[in-house]
Symmetry: C2
Subunit: 559 residues, 2 copies
């Protein structure tokens, strides 16, 4: 009976989920023993110390870790023939979910094997502080293999960084007799992993695993990308590709599509490289070239008009989520208004919008006043009132895609009245965080799990698991977390943090976009990357930006 089968498919047993669990995950040769099973590898330091620029302050803050690692990269070139045994290892997710997290756990479980115990932390850092741990069984690992989401453990956004929190973690480690912690997270979580590794040294090993769909946690040739980026961008690129395919089919709409990815524009860049839309805005370029909002809008309007002249009354504009905060004159205006409002908020509240505008026009200098006046009413209103509890505008609340549509429409009307400009807007975000991992993310994360487990069994601490040379079998690496630390101003104070990797305007990926985008906006040259495939001839594609930046000759990964 079909209805009986359908009931059996509930709770993660769709046809796809059942089949994908059976899919063989590609594993680096180095990890395979003679029976083809995963086995731990051993590491050796290689090359010069990393991060020489801030070596002094970092060595002072992380004296144990730097002394132990020499801040040098570890590479694995051989099996570990005498791995540690009897280790109790806890693993947790930190921050927003990303595809492949489950395979990190499965990889850890595989390499720790029957001689060690893997525990899961429920509910992320908060769950660690609360001691919410359980033992992960073999059947759990089989169950989660190649599935999306972080739901096996759950996650949260608590940051473990205060002395009290560190002491509490130590207590939990003692109570659970933990020898090691694996923290799967982004830049902040790995910064905190470094602090925790230093604090718990040498009793408890701490290993970080690089996760974020934003793609802003990467380390050049040692770590081409974080996990989750490939899946998220493949999901968004399929949707953008579908919409691109729709535009010359229905021949009447411009679609403005905002893509998740907080500060950095890696996601927008990758999706643009995969789909070739008429326009892709890259925040880092706008900041570097100090392009004012007026110019961005003017350029959009001219593209709309030029395409309309060729009979192309449609197009797609890709917009990075963080754009607003990179437009120089707009951020200056925001700062000025924040200061103004800090002084006048209560008197402004009782005024009508018209009166508030008068006030702003009077108080702002002429350039800023003109910019302010050019913004749509709803944004003027937001800028003059909406503030969070610290008095700052919540920039993420600004509907960037609608702002650009409205301003472009106005500019098109000015420059060329009668040019058709019908629009739709989209924001893709949550759709991309918990999809089933692409074959690349599935393989990448399983191997990161094997690497993290190997580091523990090789008695290392304060490292981030990494994998490079994705085009030729994979190179198993560990980056000292202290080697990624930079000194940054945050809230006016020097802080030691792992810096977010932004898009570099001199990177091969950006330069390729810059070289082709004029052609993409002049005609419909889009391609539709299609749904990501787990089987068949189209399953092994890497992110294009990664392949370009790493100098690979092909888009196919080989692990």
């Amino acid at each position: 009976m079909l209805t009986v089968d359908l009931k059996k498919m509930e709770q993660g047993n769709s046809i796809f989920e059942r089949e994908v669990r059976k899919l063989e995950t590609p594993v680096c040769q180095l990890f395979l023993d003679e029976q083809g099973r995963a086995a731990p590898v051993a590491f050796n330091p290689e090359g010069k110390p990393l991060n020489a620029r801030v070596a002094g302050p970092v060595a002072a803050e992380f004296s144990h870790l730097v002394k132990a690692s020499g801040n040098r990269l570890l590479t694995a070139k051989r099996k570990n023939l005498s791995p540690a045994t009897g280790r109790r290892v806890a693993v947790l997710f930190s921050g927003g979910p990303a595809a492949g997290g489950h395979n990190v756990v499965a990889g850890l479980k595989a390499v720790l094997g029957g001689q060690n115990i893997l525990l899961g932390v429920r509910g992320g850092p908060q769950g660690l502080l609360a001691g919410n741990l359980f033992t992960i069984a073999d059947k759990d690992a089989r169950r989660i293999l190649n599935t999306g989401g972080f739901d096996f453990l759950g996650s949260d956004r608590t940051k473990i960084k205060t002395p009290e929190q560190f002491a509490q973690v130590k207590k939990i480690c003692d109570k659970n007799k933990l020898n090691a912690l694996v923290i799967i997270g982004g830049d902040d979580s790995n910064t905190n992993a470094a602090l925790l590794a230093e604090y718990l040294y040498p009793e408890v090993q701490v290993i970080g695993v690089p996760k974020t769909i934003d793609g802003d946690l990467q380390a050049g040739k040692f770590l081409p990308i974080s996990f989750g980026f490939d899946t998220a961008t493949k999901i968004y690129a399929e949707l953008v590709g579908n919409i691109l395919q729709d535009t010359p089919s229905s021949r009447k709409y411009w679609h403005f599509i905002k893509l998740m990815g907080r500060a950095a524009s890696h996601v927008a860049l990758e999706v643009a490289l995969q789909t070739r839309p008429a326009v892709a805005l890259i925040s880092e370029e706008i900041a570097a070239k100090k392009i004012p909002l007026r110019k961005i809008v003017d350029s959009l309007a001219r593209t709309v008009i030029q395409r309309a002249k060729k009979g192309l009354r449609h197009g797609v504009v890709v917009i990075p989520e963080g754009l607003i905060e990179f437009i120089p004159d707009l951020t200056d205006l925001l700062k000025t208004l924040n200061d103004l409002l800090a002084r006048h908020v209560s008197s402004l509240k009782s005024l009508t919008l018209a009166k508030r505008r008068e006030f702003a026009a009077k108080e702002l200098q002429s350039g800023q006043a003109a910019l302010f006046k050019s913004l749509p009413d709803y944004l003027q209103e937001m800028l003059l009132l909406d503030r969070d509890s610290h008095g700052n505008l919540q920039v993420s609340q600004i509907p960037t895609e609608k702002l650009l549509i409205d301003m472009t429409a106005a500019r098109v009307k000015q420059l060329s009245p009668g040019t058709p400009f019908s629009t739709n807007s989209h924001f893709f975000g949550y759709e991309g965080r918990c999809g089933a991992p692409s074959l690349f993310d599935a393989a990448f994360t399983f191997n990161l799990g094997l690497t993290a487990g190997s580091l523990i069994l090789d008695k290392r601490t304060g490292y981030m698991a990494a994998l490079s040379d994705l085009n030729k079998g994979g190179r198993v690496l560990a980056i000292p977390l202290t080697g990624l630390i930079n000194v940054e101003k945050r809230h006016g104070q020097d802080e030691m943090v792992i810096a977010k990797a932004l898009v570099k305007t001199n990177s091969p990926a950006f330069k390729f976009l810059a070289a082709r985008r004029r052609a993409w906006s002049a005609a419909d040259l889009f391609a539709s990357p299609g749904p990501r495939q787990l089987w068949g001839p189209a399953a092994r594609q890497l992110p294009i930006s990664v392949a370009l930046n790493q100098g690979y000759a092909s888009l196919n990964f080989k692990l």
Copy 2:
């Protein structure tokens, strides 16, 4: 060089697009000649006349067609050994795009072969009236095979239904020496195809092909579904599945997801069957049971509260696009307000919202006044002013998903203050119309093209190509268009139209949802259907609602 390869991938040459063009499309055995190539089949009438209920009026309006077909189904059981030759056949897309349209064209081209000529109409019905035709070459057919979108020909929404338009079509047919027209479209387009077939009888044959992502063009066991539905629902179901997987990962959001599909709820039902969310609203059930808005909201709020009590502060609500027009008390209120405004619109325009509310409270009867008062401000404002040029409210402009969020939030606060209810809303539509066809839609449409071409070479007119028995090799059918015609009131007049197939609350698919949904809302039983696969073991899944309604034993199609 990778950059050189990347340039070659532009304009529809992504890795996926290249590979998918090589994918072998499953074809019904009956179509294959000894060399394994597609060959035309011949048809015979079978069974009793369809549509006996309105046989009289239909036979009067479509006298030629009904006389020729006897309103009987055609079935194909053998090859056509003496097919017509030298036919000039034009094909066009009508209405919104749906995945697989290109394969209908490719199937037509394959079966018409070198003995006949296939022309494409650029720009849909409008392009036909303008005579915008071109000859389709073999390489065109290879190029579009298995690709998404309608962009090869383009489409538009012009309806050909006036005597002047018919005469113009005849002129174009004469000018281009056309023997046949294939119209790929939805219910309205196929109604118009019937009128055109009658008008052009016997000189030009007209064949319809059933397209619509909405799934509301279907004919029981003769036509289980229209093409495009499977791909669209697989795209939406993946996204809904990804978001479901996100909810217990990040553990804090309710997502309200509206899905395209105008009137009927087939899309919402299918996506719910694939993903098992906490709540799926089905418009037809709400209309049938006359459930007022207040009860819908109350039930949502109670689900939120009950789940929160179990620690589930998250969930997903699936909402059909057309919902608003099926909520009985709300549609009554809309009608009353439409009438009121028709009389008072100019005097209302000058009033403030508060004054307009007073007016509405005074003019409405108590029940309607209470309903009106329960709506959020922005909706009250819309209802009291926003009207199209005919004085009707544009219901599609109402943000149903946000309306339900706001009203549910208010009700949760009333019933259980402090229950967490953080929300996100989504509307998926354009993303699903032009994706690469699922393997089912690719096969279904190619076979529909073979069927349409076979009908032409068998000298038939006024039929819709159809395919049934999708679980056992496929049964090649043709449904007389007149057999689908019903008499409906439209704009106050009797019109003969193909009726939209709505979700039946006594259908196996709906009944299965009804039997399981309580369990789905009580706990997280969701499944994630994953991205649709073109290769491998998960590629052959049919829509679950189709398999249930057709009584198939398995979800896998077999053609």
